[in-house]
């Protein structure tokens, strides 16, 4: 594992969840999900369609800003990624503010499309590289986008999993809560418990997140890195140029 960065581990872990899908969209400021989508595309032999917002090469939209959302509503988008300044145990996410609303102590940019896509896209993957009790909280200060809905609410979509720098949580939509799915090398059930503010189910034996295979790694460090560099130049420079030295 010493020569595999956690970013590469996550890229491979997320890509594994994208296999078999037809169309994955990624926001402009999500380099790891973006790289994962491009890896999944390479692994699918090009069958997976990837839309990276803000990229000129990796987006096909021609009907303005609304098309992404209309496309999701039409059922033509299988997966999307969302982050959160806070994420709680019911998969509620807060992208709005902490410490009061509307006059807030800490203000974040805002909902973007989350309050819509979270409902419409069948497989929403939550993602954060700040796995701390301050981010993974018992209850978000502001529900920008709810993790679960009442049965009468039209909701073909919702959360599937939460990827962090420490572990992968799977989300059980029936129960409305997370279960620890795997811990990354170097982490443990205990270290995850210690750094997580919300309650979740924990199996008796917690698997370790699989290390990417040679084929995945070669793709990630080769063609995927090249493609990522176009969209996320800073990220590519930071992660891939120093991967050998890590």
């Amino acid at each position: 594992m010493s020569d595999v960065r956690v970013e590469e581990l996550l890229i491979a872990a997320i890509a594994a969840r994208l296999q078999g899908l037809r169309h994955v969209a990624v926001g402009a400021s999500s380099p790891i999900p973006g790289a994962a989508a491009l890896l999944a595309r390479a692994l699918s032999g090009g069958r997976l369609r990837v839309s990276i917002l803000g990229s000129r090469t990796h987006t096909c939209f021609t009907d303005g800003g609304r098309e992404l959302f209309d496309c999701a509503a039409q059922g033509r988008m299988d997966a999307f990624f969302l982050g959160g300044a806070q994420i709680d145990g019911h998969a509620n996410i807060n992208l709005t503010a902490i410490g009061g609303y509307p006059r807030s102590r800490v203000r974040f940019p805002g909902a973007f499309g989350s309050s819509y896509l979270y409902f419409l896209v069948p497989n929403v993957f939550l993602f954060t590289l700040a796995h701390t009790p301050r981010v993974l909280v018992p209850k978000v200060d502001f529900i920008t986008s709810p993790g679960v809905s009442a049965p009468n609410v039209y909701r073909p979509g919702g959360p599937r999993a939460l990827f962090t720098n420490r572990c992968v949580f799977a989300f059980d939509r029936e129960l409305g809560r997370f279960a620890l799915d795997s811990v990354h090398p170097g982490e443990s059930a205990a270290s995850v418990r210690e750094n997580t503010g919300f309650a979740y189910r924990e199996p008796d034996t917690v698997p370790v997140t699989p290390t990417p295979g040679a084929r995945e790694l070669a793709l990630v460090r080769g063609p995927v890195a090249d493609a990522v560099a176009e969209v996320y130049p800073d990220f590519a420079a930071r992660v891939f140029s120093s991967a050998d030295a890590a």
Binding site: A28, S29, G54, R56, F61, T62, D63, G64, G65, R66, F69, D70, A73, L95, T96, A97, Y101, P102, R103, S104, R105, V106, R107, F108, P109, G110, A111, F112, G113, S114, S115, Y116, L117, Y118, F119, L120, F142, I143, T144, S145, P146, S149, A150, N152, V153, Y154, D234
Partner: protein, 269 residues
């Protein structure tokens, strides 16, 4: 139709609601600095569907009463510091929305209908903060809650584009949120890199991405009018200038200094 940058800025009155696109679309940054230099007041900014540097700058300069948007963000340069400070100080009213809600509400204005239904949103705290949004039972369903968004008709749509022709047609290409904003708004003011003699609608490839002059109230030729956020296909973002803004705007004093250097002194020159 055709005017100078100063004339164009002067036609956007204090108190107007102004639709502004995100950094990656087409931002009339020079016109925005013009609004700041003239000390515009009471603007109601509308994100199409979110806004970047121009939103933060106008808020910092005290031009903004209300901001209705899915986000205000400096993207990779971090949180929008003047927006955050204004929220902290209670100096700006925020009508938080989500991207497709703004697109839909603008589409309602485009179609001249009073509202547009939209899926999603139910259960979000956004809804509690938006008494102007209604939740009804879908009249074509049963026990099916559905959000209705009132139409947003901006007084003004303001953006920057690559080229206009002598008739006042403006090429926006795939950036059709600009076209939507223009259809929805009462008046549309555009700054362009250049004005060409060839009629855009005569070229069937260009015509497909052209906003007809019918919707355009004023055009000013402003080369590099999107500096520093850049204009896709024309010039990149000036990352050093954006970073300088993000750093200086982090404090009240720094923003004043930035504005003195980039707005006030430029306008006086």
């Amino acid at each position: 139709m055709f005017c100078t940058l100063d004339e164009l800025v002067a036609r956007i009155p204090d108190g107007a609601s102004v639709a502004l696109p995100p950094d990656y679309s087409g931002c009339a940054m020079a016109a925005v600095r013009g609004l700041m230099a003239r000390r515009a007041r009471g603007l109601h900014l509308i994100g199409v569907p979110q806004m970047g540097f121009q939103g933060d700058m106008l808020i910092g300069a005290g031009c903004v009463d209300t901001v209705e948007t899915a986000a205000v963000t400096l993207g990779e340069f971090g949180l929008a510091p003047r927006f955050s400070a204004a929220v902290r100080g209670g100096d700006v009213r925020v009508l938080d929305a989500t991207c497709p809600a703004l697109h839909a509400a603008l589409q309602a204005a485009e179609k001249g209908i009073p509202f547009m239904p939209l899926r999603g949103i139910v259960g979000s705290d956004l809804l509690a903060a938006r008494p102007d949004w209604k939740v009804v039972d879908n009249p074509f369903g049963a026990d099916d809650p559905l959000v209705l968004l009132p139409a947003i008709q901006p007084d003004v749509a303001l953006f920057h584009a690559r080229v206009a022709d002598r008739e006042g047609n403006v090429w926006v290409g795939v950036r059709r949120e600009l076209m939507l904003a223009a259809h929805a708004a009462r008046d549309t003011f555009v700054t362009v890199e250049r004005i060409q003699d060839a009629r855009l609608l005569d070229d069937e490839a260009m015509a497909a991405g052209t906003l007809p002059a019918l919707y355009v109230s004023g055009i000013a030729e402003v080369p590099e009018g999107a500096w520093p956020v850049g204009l896709a296909g024309c010039y990149e973002a000036d990352r050093a200038a954006l970073r300088e803004y993000a750093e200086q705007a982090a404090t009240d004093e720094g923003f004043v200094e930035w504005m003195r250097h980039h707005v006030t002194e430029v306008a006086a020159a």
